[in-house]
């Protein structure tokens, strides 16, 4: 770290620890992300990426400091963290399958004037199916609901956990488009295994291993096949 980094971070984690049922999952996570850009959070399965996001939201008991634009949020409850302008798109979507699409969106309303236009423009499909029970949607459509819930409100931080997991290539593009639109107005921390997508939209990357951050840099680093193999366990950088 050099001294020119004086700009306020959108999000800064210092020495964050999470222990769940006796397992020490996060073992002192430190990183900061720049405001206004997409930062990719990478790493092999089970190194604590999702737990990191959940600890930021406050869905898991955490110790350490988490600052959102300079304001300490690690002492807040989950709903208070969200209300201070954070939106969360969890892994596996976690949409409410017994509610309709519209009810899912309604539940997510935080702002006085939730932005349904942006949602329906990005995902016209959801407008058509707004009275359908969300549990009967396809996986891709469910992911749209999950992302739409986050885009409905003005957020200063968007936490997105593996949005393209299990999606067909066409839908991956659609999700990427949606994230790019979202990136215009919010800072995004994106957990993602799809490296081409990361390279396309992320400005910075953070790599985790075994509960700590082991690297932070630019997506260009992923071009180095040896780096990718060592850090992420994937063979071949970009090809």
């Amino acid at each position: 770290m050099n001294l020119e980094v004086t700009q306020e971070k959108a999000l800064e984690l210092s020495d964050v620890h999470v222990t769940i049922r006796g397992s020490h999952i996060l073992q002192g996570v430190n990183f900061g992300i720049e405001p206004g850009v997409v930062t990719g959070l990478l790493g092999r399965n089970g190194v604590g990426k999702s737990t990191t996001l959940r600890s930021i939201v406050g869905l898991v008991p955490r110790v350490g400091s988490i600052k959102l634009f300079g304001k300490e949020i690690s002492n807040l409850k989950a709903h208070e963290v969200i209300r201070s302008g954070v939106s969360f798109v969890p892994e596996d979507r976690e949409i409410f399958s017994t509610l309709t699409v519209l009810e899912n969106l309604k539940l997510a309303e935080r702002d006085k004037q939730p932005n349904y236009d942006i949602v329906y423009n990005l995902f016209p499909e959801l407008l058509k199916r707004k009275n359908q029970r969300a549990g009967t949607l396809s996986g891709g459509q469910q992911q749209m609901v999950a992302i739409a819930r986050a885009l409905l409100n003005n957020s200063n931080l968007l936490l997105v956990d593996e949005p393209t997991k299990g999606l067909a290539p066409r839908l991956v593009t659609e999700v990427a488009d949606a994230l790019e639109v979202a990136a215009k107005s919010a800072t995004i921390l994106l957990v993602e295994q799809n490296l081409p997508l990361v390279k396309r939209i992320a400005k910075n990357i953070i790599v985790m291993d075994q509960g700590v951050v082991v690297h932070s840099g630019s997506p260009m680093d992923l071009e180095n096949a040896d780096f990718a193999q060592r850090m992420l366990g994937v063979s071949g950088g970009s090809h």
Binding site: L59, A78, F96, S97, T98
Partner: protein, 293 residues
């Protein structure tokens, strides 16, 4: 046949009382994973409130007084329930076993407090004489009070449905039953919904208590507990967290119990228990419920 009709409607009436207790239990469990063993105490509180009101405040035996006493009983149950949530349950957040244990303790304490205040013997509560009328259906005669239970339970069921379907708190409850954590991850303070379900659950139980004094011709310290076990069975059969499932199960349990008790002397309670075991084995999540964890 006449006897069957009389028994059947009596069974539905008993089921209606079970429903009033079970609806709150089901919502509380569905939303918070708290198995509320103190729910019988809420019912008993409502029953004693009815006794007090119709004995000391307005002992004129009129239908109006009775109606007011129902309302008061509901409120007493609701206040008791909210106090329970605010004083005990709230501080054991996410400690589900401890929450259940605390309600076990509270039920225990409440039953002995009632015993200390009101004695062992049931206190007689006299409903308005009009409720002793019988209604003729074909050749069968059915006590009017049975229809009162069914009517009150139907109103509660309808109110519940409207609340769950058309209000924001209802939306939050339905979502919370499915995935509580995700509700908070959308920026909603789900604990307000907890207090609310305790309020409505306590209200329904209190109402049930008032009506139970008519069904059982009085109130004793363990009135609630005797309903509680069958209300539990109703909830599990119907499916935790599903109010419609609870309603169906309540009718099933009430009619089975009354009919079998009549035709096969005394075996009704036993058969209901077997029914529960059967349902759980075939469909562990109950008739209409979320998966029981």
């Amino acid at each position: 046949m006449e006897i069957f009709i009389t028994l059947f409607i009596t069974g539905v009436g008993l089921g209606a009382l079970y429903f009033l207790v079970a609806a709150g239990l089901s919502l509380i469990y569905g939303l918070m994973d708290v198995l509320n063993f103190a729910h019988g105490a809420f019912l008993t509180a409502g029953a004693y409130a009815t006794w007090y009101f119709t004995t000391y405040v307005r002992a004129d035996g009129s239908l109006t007084s009775y109606a007011i006493s129902l309302l008061i009983a509901g409120l007493v149950g609701a206040l008791f329930a909210v106090a329970t949530e605010q004083i005990l349950i709230k501080y054991l957040y996410n400690r589900h076993i401890d929450q259940a244990l605390v309600t076990v303790g509270l039920g225990f304490v409440a039953a002995s407090a009632y015993l200390g205040w009101f004695g062992t013997d049931p206190l007689v509560v006299l409903p308005p004489v009009d409720l002793y009328n019988v209604v003729q259906i074909g050749d069968a005669f059915v006590g009017l009070d049975r229809f009162l239970y069914i009517g009150v339970a139907a109103i509660v069921l309808l109110a519940n449905f409207l609340m769950l379907r058309y209000t924001r708190i209802g939306l939050i409850i339905r979502a919370g039953v499915e995935n509580r954590n995700m509700v908070t991850a959308l920026g909603i303070d789900v604990r307000k919904a907890f207090t609310f379900v305790f309020f409505i659950g306590g209200f329904a139980a209190g109402l049930g208590g008032a009506l139970a004094t008519t069904y059982a011709s009085g109130v004793g310290p363990t009135l609630g507990d005797s309903f509680l076990i069958y209300a539990f069975i109703t909830v599990v059969i119907g499916g935790m967290g599903s109010v419609p499932g609870t309603a169906i199960a309540a009718v099933l349990v009430g009619t089975t119990q009354v009919l079998v008790n009549y035709y096969v002397q005394g075996l009704g309670d036993f058969v209901v228990v077997l029914l529960l075991a059967l349902v759980l084995l075939v469909r562990p999540q109950g008739l209409l419920g979320k998966v029981v964890r």
